[in-house]
């Protein structure tokens, strides 16, 4: 197991490296520089600024200097927020995005697994069709449509819930979390239905039933473990999607998380901020993919032996 984790971590290094390199040269290839938007910049001021941020150096020197800083965990100063480092800004936005993502994931798992398992117990009946049709609507309804619609209904017409902010008014975390989690709830529902259907037709389930185990025990003790492997495998990519999707939700609900910083940084040509966010998000995504693979392996004994065997 340890070997598996280590080899996966080693494989992650080229991925992160490619991300850093591609992003670094991409932002610098872009037309427009970080100080172009400033109204009046004297040539000497601009030169001084460029010297301060090392923009006057040849490109490859900038690149190596950046890598050197990065190796020490230093993401550099922000171009747009003078006096603040990218590290600081990221760590101010991270808890918000992480909390939003966590709630969304919890909503997705709670609703998704319940609906999926429920549907799988009586396939091709109304108990199956209704939740699965709802799931399809969830998949087809993009967050940038669902969000405004929820705001319109619950915030403006019914006036039940606040329509923006994060942690300022009680209840203002509900709508963003639902908006972000809805599509994932739908995917989880479909995955857990398919996984459960496959497991429920296995011999060992028949054995469990033949032993006279009550149906809920069969489901809870024997079927769920295997039936939810696809869901666990989906969690890594889902978390990646949640981070990316949080751009929209954070924009709609005016939440000061990572996503909003990222979009603003890209518009502002804030080189260090773009790079820092990209590196940070990519590392998180790689990490979560790894964790979900490990969890899936732990749930599936056949996969586990493959891994501890060290083979491919």
């Amino acid at each position: 197991m340890l070997r598996f984790v280590l080899s996966r971590l080693l494989q992650a290094i080229p991925v992160i490296f490619i991300v850093i390199t591609a992003t670094f040269f991409l932002v610098r290839a872009a037309p427009g520089g970080p100080f172009d938007a400033e109204k009046v910049v004297l040539p000497e001021v601009k030169r001084a600024l460029e010297a301060q941020y090392r923009l006057d150096l040849p490109l490859h020197e900038q690149y190596f200097a950046y890598l050197k800083d990065l190796a020490q965990g230093e993401l550099g100063p922000s171009f747009k927020y003078p006096g603040r480092s990218v590290n600081e800004i990221l760590f101010s936005g991270l808890p918000v995005t992480a909390e939003l993502g966590l709630y969304a994931l919890l909503i997705a798992l709670l609703i998704g697994v319940t609906a999926g398992v429920f549907a799988s117990l009586k396939p091709n009946t109304r108990q199956d069709y209704i939740p699965m049709s709802l799931a399809m609507i969830g998949i087809c309804m993009p967050s940038f449509l669902l969000g405004p619609l929820l705001v319109l209904v619950f915030g403006i017409y019914l006036e039940w819930l606040p329509i923006s902010g994060w942690g300022a008014i009680p209840g203002d975390k509900i709508l963003p979390s639902i908006t972000l989690g809805a599509a994932y709830a739908a995917y989880v529902a479909r995955l857990s239905r398919a996984g459960m259907l496959e497991i429920l037709s296995q011999d060992y389930i028949r054995t469990a039933r033949a032993k006279g185990l009550p149906e809920w025990m069969v489901v809870a003790k024997h079927a769920l473990r295997g039936g939810l492997i696809p869901v666990v495998a989906f969690l890594g990519p889902a978390f990646a999607g949640l981070l990316a999707g949080s751009f929209v939700v954070e924009t709609i609900f005016q939440i000061p998380g990572l996503g909003r910083f990222y979009v603003q940084a890209a518009f502002n040509r804030d080189y260090t901020m773009i790079l820092g966010t990209t590196v940070f998000l990519s590392s998180l995504i790689v990490l979560f993919n790894l964790m979900s693979d490990v969890a899936a392996a732990w749930l599936n004994p056949r996969l586990r032996s493959q891994i501890s065997g060290g083979g491919k």
Partner: protein, 299 residues
């Protein structure tokens, strides 16, 4: 091995091919799936409308009526008008042309790259396969959404680039599916039989591998189109996709969301158009998956 197939054997092969009515079976199964049929018909209607839009749109694309301003749905404007007095139905029809075009063209790009990549990796095998699939793995781990946002900001809102960027993201799964198909097909008895009958590799690929790998590819293509359309809409919503004077459903939804308090129809109708299309595509894709899944037809 590579000796030409005798006339007798060729005749046998042709007969066997006609006997295998995989596509006919699939068609019959698909027709029984009411949701899939409804999805397919809806899509056809939308596509015909999109093609005919310049001739059948109720108003001109740039026709404004500033005196009228934003008005609720009425007999003259079935879906209402926006703040410039532009007809919403007309806007949605023109937007649909762009959204559908992005969906189909970007998917075609993904299909082309993915199928070629996967087929080569799967057929050549060995070290070439290992290197090619390693590259796919690495690309998989890249946070593409972030890259697309970056690309669009960096190189401006170029529609062509949008197609390419989206296509470049979506081909990975296609390549994996194609590779595993080709790999498993190469080991099937009927391919071995074809080899022992002396068919050339090109004939085997053309007659046996491609038709059999086509099912999953078609299914996945149908399911890629909605995710591509969603991506375009997402980018347009962020202000990074389609730019005015052109429009797309994502852009219309983005504008609609800004003024939804006063003019909710500006959000609801474009949203309905997008959701209906995605719904139809997903149901059609699911239906095709069930219809073409030969293993599934046994039980």
């Amino acid at each position: 091995m590579s000796s030409p197939v005798s006339a007798d054997n060729q005749g046998l092969l042709d007969e066997a091919e006609q006997g295998s009515s995989l596509w006919q079976d699939a068609w019959i199964r698909l027709r029984k799936n009411r949701m899939a049929v409804a999805g397919g018909i809806t899509l056809l209607v939308f596509m015909v409308l999109a093609i005919l839009t310049p001739w059948i749109a109720p108003y001109g694309y740039e026709t404004q009526d500033l005196d009228l301003g934003a008005s609720a749905p009425s007999a003259a404007h079935w879906l209402g008008t926006d703040v410039f007095g532009r007809d919403v139905l007309t806007q949605i029809m023109y937007g649909g042309r762009v959204s559908l075009a992005v969906g189909f063209i970007a998917t075609a790009v993904a299909l082309l790259i993915g199928v070629t990549w996967g087929a080569v990796a799967g057929y050549v095998g060995g070290r070439v396969d290992a290197v090619m699939m390693r590259m796919v793995d690495i690309l998989y781990a890249l946070p593409f959404m972030i890259f697309i946002v970056l690309l669009m900001v960096v190189f401006g809102r170029n529609v062509l680039l949008l197609f390419l960027a989206i296509g470049a993201v979506e081909w990975l799964t296609m390549a994996r599916i194609m590779r595993s198909q080709v790999q498993s097909l190469r080991q099937q008895e009927f391919v071995e039989a074809a080899i022992s009958l002396g068919l050339s590799p090109t004939a085997i690929i053309r007659k046996h591998v491609v038709p059999n790998a086509l099912g999953p590819i078609i299914v996945y293509t149908t399911l890629t189109i909605p995710s591509v359309m969603l991506l375009e809409a997402f980018l347009s919503f962020l202000g990074l996709g389609i730019q005015p004077p052109q429009t797309s459903w994502g852009l219309l939804i983005s504008y609609g969301a800004e003024t939804m308090e006063e003019y909710p129809w500006l959000l609801i109708f474009p949203g309905l158009a997008l959701t209906t299309t995605l719904f139809s595509l997903n149901f059609l894709g699911d239906g095709l998956r069930d219809a073409l899944d030969v293993r599934g037809s046994k039980d």
